[in-house]
Symmetry: C2
């Protein structure tokens, strides 16, 4: 790095982060780390193996995977050598990993990493061009619905760890597509109609029907038949009973296969004690084309909920697209930004204390006229505390003012006050700082040797 | 994502990660996480605030910061909008952050993130184009050498946490530059001569002298005077006594200022109990131009050491380059890849078990002819264990073979064996699995209600 002579050039540079990106600092990152460690702990509990892939992939690896959205991919400049692009999600890199590692036939992998989309950003609503995804996927051939049940169990444990009360909306692509067929939807209209149905969580049926009929050219009678099915939701038991009572639907082979899966799943979810979190919702369709079986979406049971906080499904054909090996997969992606928004609101004091240092102890020197600032003594006490695993700070001044030190100690729970007389007697004074910055009392005189122990006692209260 | 019709295009794609990048999986990431959490804990103990910046910056922000190395910067393609580049290090993004956040006058920040350099990769030696940096920096105006001492203390605590025995090599830019001046180095040759001196840790003096004289056109007598100084190292006390005994050197104002800093630092390091880790080494020069005071490098006290595992120094003028605010800084960057290499070697069993699932318990179903596989019972036991925070797995088969289950349990410490008779009596069998896969005995019959407790007892042994 050469700094000389470039100062002027740099001073004129626009000083901001690129469009759709932002810095994250302090308490924000502590909340994010809390989310990451909570969900990772659950992934590991279920045998999850962590994976980290490069932030950019060969451009060919991403080609043909995202349809129209491919225009949102960030490309790296051609500087000679390979053509690369920033990753758009974590699913395609995982599929590429599996296709390159043909020694792996089964894996439960998790990955928490940023992805990049040149979308129109809406920072106030938390939509950024650089954002985190957090994925857990089970790849491999297993008996039907066993990994599917475990993924739902993982969701329940993760949100329990985050102290969030959730409902998991479930559906099955083969049941949904079968109901469309039974209702009379031409097969080339299945996906467009499916994407209209997916809007039923935000829009009333009349609006969805209008989209089907007016925009997508569906016969109104066909739309009404669809409406009779997809507006139904309930427990797994209720919905399986409802489907069993529909002879026209049950004659369809796709629906039969889906119902068989759902019956099996219900028995597994009962054994895993998660059945009470499930809503079997025939309107759930999910946008992505590649799902082939069970699909799900997690919503928070709170007023003003922010949309789904996790979602996923079974995709049995994606890895095979690379032509190396065919591995069925099921996965889930956690919506870190939405979870973050909910947890951030809970931390009311955050805005004011985003740069808070999170110290346990602030070491203050007090003295009269010949006061020399006691810097070495403050350092030695800090060293004792650090050795004891206690966060300790002191003013980085040789002779700090008493008032400056008390001000700095206000967002720290404990102050240790050093005076020459007490130090001569081998003692220091410990004070608890109250929330409003007032000290409770004159504090406790303790021996220098007992500082770590005494601080731990106070902190554990 | 649209998959149909693109299968052929994708199947022909080259399946690998881009040049100079790689996937990381399983045990490798567990080692890396261990490094990150160990050093982050120390940063937080010292009041460190985490920072996360975007992976790309406006191209102008990086311009003029890296001299010749700027050719190694990855640019994003111009897809309309702003011109951006991937970050090259974490120091310039931190300086940009401080220049944009003029409300921040003092901060201890840490950042652990990947950086990108289009260098010639040498994967076998661990040199990649995408690699981690881990930086801790103290920004702000403080009394001299107080943050400098704390940074060295942070280094000692971090490597103690990693169980690595280290020495910190120290020098001071003003002493070093003063010694060059006193020896007769023309001021325009200071940095080239400095970079030659920096090679003394790898090359003998004669070779360094040859570079100075033959390549850099220095007078041989001047080189010899430099040699007499820079081949000296010792404790801080020894080296300060040595410098004090050199009247020619002590007449130089730069050296006087540097020596005053080092005396102050020595007293602080004594109070912080890190003096025994320090080697004051006059040959330490560090490559970067922007250092203005104390510089340091951490080496591991082991044969076949891999070079420095952390390094840094004081840089008081970098933030001011953006023309917004002038903030003196001191920082250190941990060499994650080298630390990783050392810790990886310690884990001898790693290579074979990189994809190990790290499960605590494997649940096995055993039975005779009418055996139904006990899947729901295995799931229910797994649920109990997960609720107790215990990692549990079972075969994802309705009727798994006994031998297959025993094979799968071999790298797991405990097996729980379910048989219909025992289950009818409300019991299961617990077995410890030995390293070589042999079971110790027929196992322990325990009540289903006590499983979590009994497993925890076995695991804590």
């Amino acid at each position: 790095m050469t700094t000389k002579g470039n100062a002027m050039a740099s001073a004129s540079a626009q000083l901001k982060t690129p469009k759709g990106t932002r810095d994250w600092v302090g308490q924000e990152l502590r909340i994010r780390d809390h989310i990451f460690s909570t969900v990772s702990d659950v992934f590991r509990l279920h045998g999850g193996v962590p994976l980290d892939t490069p932030v950019f992939e060969l451009r060919d690896v991403l080609a043909g995977k995202y349809g129209e959205d491919a225009r949102l991919i960030y490309n790296l400049e051609d500087q000679g050598g390979e053509l690369c692009s920033l990753r758009y999600d974590l699913t395609v890199p995982f599929a590429r990993f599996l296709a390159t590692r043909t020694d792996i036939k089964q894996i439960k992998r998790y990955q928490i990493a940023k992805v990049y989309r040149r979308d129109q950003p809406a920072i106030s609503r938390g939509r950024l061009r650089e954002f985190y995804q957090c994925d857990f996927d089970v790849a491999g051939v297993y008996d039907p619905m066993i990994p599917d049940a475990e993924i739902l169990r993982v969701l329940v444990e993760a949100f329990r760890g985050l102290d969030m009360n959730i409902t998991i909306k479930l559906n099955h692509r083969r049941i949904l597509d079968g109901l469309f067929a039974v209702s009379g939807v031409p097969s080339d209209k299945t996906r467009p109609i499916s994407s209209a149905v997916d809007k039923l969580d935000k829009a009333p049926w009349e609006e969805v029907k209008r989209e089907m009929v007016e925009e997508k050219g569906l016969d109104a009678a066909v739309a009404d038949r669809i409406g009779a099915y997809v507006q139904r939701r309930g427990t797994m038991g209720e919905m399986l009973a409802y489907l069993a009572s529909q002879p026209e639907a049950m004659a369809n082979e796709e629906i039969q296969a889906g119902v068989k899966d759902m019956q099996l799943l219900m028995s597994y979810l009962e054994a895993m004690d998660v059945l009470d979190k499930i809503s079997f919702d025939l309107s759930l369709a999910r946008g992505l084309d590649y799902y082939t079986g069970l699909i799900y979406e997690v919503i928070v049971n709170e007023p003003n909920q922010v949309g789904s906080v996790a979602a996923g499904g079974r995709y049995d054909n994606l890895v095979g697209m690379y032509g190396k090996q065919q591995i069925p997969c099921i996965g889930v992606s956690f919506g870190i930004d939405r979870i973050f928004t909910i947890l951030e609101k809970r931390q009311k004091r955050m805005a004011a204390s985003n740069l808070r240092r999170n110290a346990d102890v602030y070491i203050i020197a007090a003295g009269g006229k010949e006061f020399d600032g006691l810097l070495l003594q403050r350092m030695a006490i800090a060293r004792q505390l650090w050795d004891g695993g206690i966060q300790a700070e002191y003013a980085a001044k040789v002779k700090p003012k008493l008032q400056t030190q008390f001000n700095a100690s206000k967002d720290v729970p404990i102050a240790i006050i050093l005076g020459q007389d007490e130090l001569d007697a081998g003692q220091v004074r410990l004070k608890e700082i109250k929330e409003d910055g007032e000290e409770k009392d004159r504090g406790l005189l303790v021996s220098k040797d007992d500082i770590v122990e005494e601080v731990k006692k106070l902190l554990s209260r």
